[in-house]
Amino acid sequence: MADDALWYEAALLVGITNALNVVADSPLETLEPVRPDAPAQAVFAEIRAFYDCAEVPVAFRRVAADPGYLADLWGATRRVFSDNRLTRRHKEALAFAVSVTTRSPFGTTFHLGEMRRLGVGERGVVEVLGVTQMFSSYTKIADTLQLEPDMDGIAAEDRSPAPGGAPPPRTRSPEAP
């Protein structure tokens, strides 16, 4: 997990997970179109195929009145949850941890279901829950005492360029002429 690419991917996933959860967990039932129009139905078909489910998750149904927005939201979601440097299975575990931590009923239920569908066993689920619980403890102890980060030296800095970009500028040491 030394490459920054993995952490960028994880952070983008956290953002999208939270974006879906805030809409799904809010009292917005009345926004769901009774009969979504054809462009929205086309996106719904993609969503059903991706999740292998009969019902489109509520987070998407609630924005279906604007098919263009729905399509872009879905595109972003599909991108961050697809296999990439991180596996889809691991991404669902991260989303589950985020959802439990943010107390999202939708996210917790949905990503738990996805983890199981993708083959994570009960032990694997409890492992993720254990890490989530332990770090929900550590983080509050650290915050209460206002501890300052002191473990950033453990990992080496990743000096690789941005995707498709140029190498980073060379840094000159203070002693260099």
Binding site: M1, A93, A97, T102, G121, E127, Y138, T139, I141, D143
Partner: protein
Amino acid sequence: MPTVRLRDASEYPEPVQKLFEAAKAWFKYDFEQPPAMSRVMAWDPELGAFHGRAMKRAMGPGEWSRAEKEMVAAVVSGVNACAY
């Protein structure tokens, strides 16, 4: 700035020193001082022992690798807005 004075490792009694050595081995990193969190948890060795064992069990490899679990820990810390 911490709201308490973090004790130097040398201020802790001998049995706790062994816990600090175990932390060093766990992280595979030669800290100048044990991490602040290790020193905080060592304040109450009985609690620290339970908590530490639960943590070690949670973070050890199982269905997920330790690296995968470290990333779970990082996102939980992130959404908890914990800078530490």
